[in-house]
């Protein structure tokens, strides 16, 4: 009871989540995204080529199809570039922030004491680039969870360890 205080809280004095400095994903992650998009585009391109060669009607309008394909490809790169530029994460003392979004910009904040568990994912390609995806689960269902891609694996491991430690410390306090 000694340390108990109950002062009025000034709302303006509260830490501001929107002013937090965010860490960007590693630049190598963009390379990885480009590879992923390219693979997808190549597969799509093969499909399109097959369609153009086999279907006479489509074959006649090949210029339109290829133009559409190119526009789609450029569009895809722009969208992914925008989404890459926008991404950022921060580990604060009491929560994790993650900002993302293609059109709308979304910031999700998960308080550390609401984390259920943490997973670190390494895809086959990510392993080549030594990147990892940190997934943070809460009880709030799919939409309220965050999955931070493109963190250098060493850093991701440290972050995961830190988050997991925090979970344990918190549960011991209870």
């Amino acid at each position: 009871m000694i340390s108990f205080t109950n002062e009025t809280i000034d709302l303006d004095q509260l830490p501001k989540y929107e002013a937090t400095m965010l860490t960007k994903p590693h630049p190598k992650y963009w390379t990885l995204m480009v590879i992923n998009i390219s693979v997808f585009l190549i597969i799509l391109g093969i499909g399109l080529a097959a369609l153009l060669l086999l279907n006479d009607d489509a074959g006649l309008n090949w210029l339109i199809w290829i133009a559409l394909y190119l526009i789609f490809a450029v569009f895809l790169f722009i969208v992914y570039r925008a989404s890459f530029k926008r991404r950022g994460f921060a580990l604060r003392e009491k929560d994790v922030l993650y900002k993302s979004g293609v059109i709308a910009e979304t910031t999700t904040i998960v308080p550390l004491n609401r984390i259920q568990h943490v997973a670190l994912n390494e895809g086959v390609l990510s392993r080549v680039f030594k990147l990892g995806t940190l997934q943070i689960y809460t009880a709030g269902g799919n939409s309220g969870q965050i999955s931070i891609a493109g963190i250098p694996i060493e850093q991701a491991k440290i972050m995961k360890e830190a988050l997991v430690q925090r979970l344990v410390v918190q549960s011991e306090n209870e």
């Binding site: 809280i9 709302l11 303006d12 509260l14 830490p15 501001k16 989540y17 929107e18 009491k94 929560d95 979004g101 059109i103 709308a104 910009e105 979304t106 910031t107 999700t108 904040i109 998960v110 308080p111 550390l112 004491n113 609401r114 259920q116 568990h117 943490v118 997973a119 670190l120 994912n121 390494e122 895809g123 086959v124 990510s126 392993r127 689960y137 809460t138 009880a139 709030g140 269902g141 799919n142 939409s143 309220g144 969870q145 965050i146 995961k160 997991v164 430690q165 979970l167 344990v168 549960s171 209870e174």
Partner: protein
Amino acid sequence: MFTDFSKPQRQSAAGIIINGAYIVQKFVRAMFIPLALFIVKSNNAALLYAALGLAGILVVSLIYAYFYYLKFTFYLDPKKQEFVIDKGVFGRKHLNIPVEKIQQVNINQGFLQKLIGVYSLQIDTAGTESKEVNIKAINGEIAYALKEHLLTGNNVTELPTEANLAHDVDEKVQETPIVKIGASTLLKVGLTSNYGQSIALLIGFGYAVFHNIKELLKAFDNDRGQLEEFFKSGITLISIGILFTGIIIILLATNVIRTFIKYFDFQLSKHQKSLLISSGLFAKKNTLLHPSRVQITTYSQNYFQKKIGLFNMTLKQAHAGHQPSENEMKSNNMEVPGCNADEKEEILKMVLKQLPEQGRTFSPNFRFLNLPLFFTVVVPLMVYAFIYNLTPEIRPFYGLAVMYVVLVTLMIYISYTKHRIVVSEDFIIKQSGIWDISQEIIEPHKIQSISTSQYPWHRKLDIGHVTLHTAAGDIRFLYGNYTEIKTLVNWWLYKVESTEKDWM
């Protein structure tokens, strides 16, 4: 036996077979239709190749399963009190689950597992994918020992199942119920609520009847469109009126019957710290509910219910698993179909410990209207105008189009005026709805995470959205003042992060 789980260990070796079988099963399920077509259509030689191919897949699956088995380890970290799983052949996945977050441990035995004599073990933590933590083949003794360990290792005693408790309660305590719904109230409830569900039910039923009669006529090779003819000839102004009344009567009757079957003899009483709810005409359903597990408390009222002072309440509980099915969601929700204002307050006090006080109200910007108006009014209208020019047949129906526009615009406008949140020290109340106006009440410490979002074209206007994620679903407030929203979010974060209160 081994009760030492602190060292990484593998599944039972039989897991290779189980996992292999799962992969084959997955493959066959995915390829079922092409495969079936292929078998029916092809000749013997092709069938032989197909069989060889399948055998090849089986071998590959088994090899994969073998490596999967080698790479799949689990152990219990005694120091950190975590259950750790490492898995993955190509990509690795490390999972750490703090023991105290574990809600439930399920041990199952499927058909193949029964043949081999192993069990599968699933760990449920509220909010994670149960499939993630699924050990498919584990020796029975180990499974039960592990379950014991996981659930009791950290003073987490297994909760008695709802059925057991309800049974005990049935025999021992018969306290005076807080809410008891009699036949007359049920009748009122049936007449005033849940139209949507009954309409859907009736449409489905009507379509099935129509379709079946058609099929029957077809089967006897008699279908010359009598049914359509019958309907066409029957449509006059008077008959439409009669039909309309008839449909409404049927609708109300269905509604009343449904309500009676589900909620007959509804009783809600307090039992120690829990709420005991029982109802049902044919099968009596007993549910025990702990108030602290309730995440969202909702009450709603429509125009008629307001006139007779009736409320509809729903207590939403946390659901496990990341994508609960419709049924799971429903079974986690406790409904109180009809109660008056006093009973409503009594329940609120019980669940929330106090009545929500008044707070500051936040309303959305009028731009709330833009997108819905565009997609449900402007776009359909444009489509109609386009077809109007092409096909003269639909021109006489412009009256319907006008009605549609007026009705939908009105609905969107009402939804805009009703959309708001009221924020007070201990509660967040979200109001929404068009016909049924509902109030969703949550306490800040039930928030799991918060998302805020903004469209780039709203940046100058300072408009944004906020979603509060709870274990029983999301609460969204749209098109609010973004500066205010940010202040609120910081305040809620402070509340969540500084409190010792757990959400469950």
